[in-house]
Symmetry: C2
Subunit: 305 residues, 2 copies
């Protein structure tokens, strides 16, 4: 974790200069620190280590790029045009603190900073320069059109949405980028790590849908009940809480099974299981099980019928 | 010009897929086509040719990346948080046609598509892969923090702004990226081409300030008088129209003088002079001269005193 925080800190400092607008720099920092669980960059580095970590600076830069793109997407998604959220990670959102114009630019600047990280990582690893085009392509695929997180968010602007395609793009794409970029940064074939990213990404979104229904804003660090408020597709709304929980567990099992053979397979599988317990704590899953056996309606927000 | 249009078209098609949200793809296309004068990518390719154009696919990808980043910045700058403009290049702006949420995402997707273009260009030019990190860095520097166009726009969110720093970042940075990336894509040292980008970028911004005062919306293809309306720094407001015109001409002379020695120097200088006449047509400069000798106040918008 400290490897990620340090790499993020170094990359943010590269955007600093007396010639830069100070409020932009402050807003960028606010969007990135203290940060959440940093699950995507952790995943990226875990896969890079599992593949031998032959170019640590390149792996760091991929992890940093992916986390910065995630932070950028949160800044833009929180804006009034989308969620109009007041809080994120227990802090005021960027547009609440710095205004809408600067929030828009903060997201843009973080996207650019992500690619600057890759350029820097490649310069630190000249002997592995051949990995850069592929890394760049993987990070772009996870982010833009046709199937990255920006496209996923754009599905919310369409009259008709298919839940699986929406979730695959909105969350899954950047998880796939995380596992595949981790592998490629270490010189391994990314294809074998794709399924892990897909399963974890979908599981993460399902867990988010469940938490959005079950938890209160003070536990989430952001407004609760947002999916219902914004009439967004949600696994909890679609399948019910019990069904969503079953789906989550199936995805986590698939994630564990998908880890490619190799000396680090066991360690990676343990990490996935650890993450599963963090996403849906045992107390929460037991609560859902109880509710399933003896429905009380207590746990259901009105719009999730 | 057709080389640029074709390269942009190919890059946009790479974002296409039946799995993508159709309105996002339509909004991206609307933001890029038919387009304006394409001055940045033209400049990039002109410099690449002057330097021997040893990797045309790489030069194309740099030109495309820079134009896509420019288009993205226009989409975001036109939004209600900034200019709240109804028209751009004589067409409705993206947020007027597709709504604010999709305009926000369209800008984001175009930024990512720009970097995807560089990844693609590098894959087409594997023998020149060593140029990619530098190109990536140049394009990022022209766009993000501390001194790129996003930072330039962010100066509008600061309580105190220095006109030169603001214009250098807001417009100059992407012109510098254009000349330098053109040189580097062709394997030349970008340093020698920096001054040309700086002078042209500042001249372009001064010309824009003059046109914003002098021309009507139907000639501009976008709302007129925006600098005064939004209390933005403007060379025309700062120096008066005559002073701004003198400044423009001095910058264009400096641009011509800055072109590095080489077999293509004359051709590049002719191109710069041609561009000067396009930016401020002779009839306009004569009008400003007449006004300077016999002030009538006719040409002055109220806020530009």
């Amino acid at each position: 974790m400290s490897r990620i925080q340090q790499a993020l800190e170094s990359q943010l400092l590269r955007a600093h200069s007396p010639s830069a607008p100070p409020r932009l720099l402050a807003a960028m920092r606010h969007a990135v620190f203290p940060g959440g669980a940093r699950i995507r960059p952790q995943l990226c580095l875990a896969v890079a280590r599992a593949c031998g970590d032959s170019a640590p600076a390149l792996a760091d830069s991929a992890a940093v790029a992916i986390e910065l793109l995630h932070c950028a997407s949160l800044v833009h998604d929180d804006m009034p045009a989308f969620d109009d959220a007041d809080t994120r990670r227990g802090q005021p959102t960027v547009h609440r603190l710095y205004g809408e114009p600067l929030a828009l630019l903060t997201g843009d600047a973080l996207i650019v900073l992500a690619y600057q990280a890759l350029a820097h990582g490649a310069r630190q690893s000249p002997e592995h320069i051949d990995r850069l085009p592929g890394l760049l392509q993987l990070v772009c695929s996870g982010t833009g059109a046709p199937d990255g997180i920006v496209a996923g968010q754009a599905w919310e602007c369409e009259p008709q949405v298919e839940l699986a395609a929406y979730q695959r793009a909105k969350t899954g794409a950047l998880f796939v980028a995380s596992t595949c970029a981790g592998a490629l940064a270490a010189g391994a074939d990314p294809a074998g790590w794709r399924a892990l990213g897909e399963c974890l990404g979908e599981a993460y979104q399902v867990a988010d849908d469940i938490r959005d229904v079950l938890m209160e804003a003070d536990q989430l660090g952001k407004p609760a009940g947002q999916d219902a408020t914004h009439h967004r597709p949600s696994a909890a709304a679609d399948l019910g809480l019990g069904g969503a929980m079953d789906h989550f567990q199936a995805l986590m099992t698939a994630a564990v099974d998908s880890v490619p053979e190799g000396p680090a397979r066991r360690a990676m599988q343990a990490l996935v299981l650890h993450e599963a317990a963090r996403l849906i704590p045992p107390a929460t899953s037991e609560r859902i099980e109880r509710e399933r056996r003896h429905p009380t309606r207590v746990m259901h927000r009105p719009a999730v019928a």
